[in-house]
């Protein structure tokens, strides 16, 4: 269990660092990059939650999240370069 706390602690620090970049920017692209990194971390976090609650079906949440996050990042990217 201690192991899991450690993992969660690391994830929390990572999320904190990512969030810092997300809020600080300075450019919109920086925020997008931070967001991209954060979505990866969040996907992992969702899997971790599924593992901790021992619910196999929660993995679907992570799957859907990964898809939506990807499309979201792409949409942001295309918006930034005027492709929308």
């Amino acid at each position: 269990m201690i192991f899991m706390y450690i993992i969660m602690g690391i994830l929390a620090i990572s999320i904190f660092l990512g969030a810092y970049r997300l809020l600080k920017g300075p450019s919109a692209s920086d925020r997008a990059v931070a967001l991209d990194a954060l979505t990866n971390i969040t996907t992992a976090l969702l899997v971790l939650i599924a593992y901790l609650s021992e619910r196999f079906i929660y993995l679907d949440v992570a799957l859907v999240y990964a898809i939506l996050a990807f499309v979201g990042v792409i949409a942001i990217a295309r918006y930034l370069e005027g492709g929308l």
């Binding site: 609650s53 021992e54 619910r55 079906i57 929660y58």
Partner: protein
């Protein structure tokens, strides 16, 4: 723990209403409303939360589930929020086309 969530809910609602009242950019107004919606969705979840409960999907081992009803309500509320946001977006696009600005201006005189 639950108080952190309560705090987040109240903050989201307050931030949202602050945004609606003070922002001039229409898009920001609607984003503020979305923030409020997020707050209220979270509120529904928080109210349905039962300490130690997990998702109300039967798998034999668990005896405590959280209240499933608010979750169903939140599902509905989210979809409604998205719908309204989509429509708002279109309205704003149209508004922009007509007025060439996203700044909210009063056009009608009384």
């Amino acid at each position: 723990m639950i108080w952190a969530i309560y705090f987040a809910i109240a903050s989201l609602l307050a931030i949202g209403i602050y945004g609606v009242i003070t922002k001039k950019n229409l898009m920001k107004i609607f984003i503020s409303i979305s923030i409020m919606e997020t707050g209220v969705n979270l509120m529904l979840i928080a109210i349905g939360y039962i300490p130690g409960g997990t998702a109300p999907i039967e798998n034999g081992d668990f005896t405590t589930y959280v209240d499933p009803l608010p979750q169903a309500l939140v599902l509905t509320a989210i979809v409604i929020g998205v719908s309204v946001l989509a429509l708002a977006l279109v309205m704003v696009i149209n508004y922009y086309e007509k007025n060439k600005t996203l700044e909210y201006r009063r056009l009608m005189k009384w």
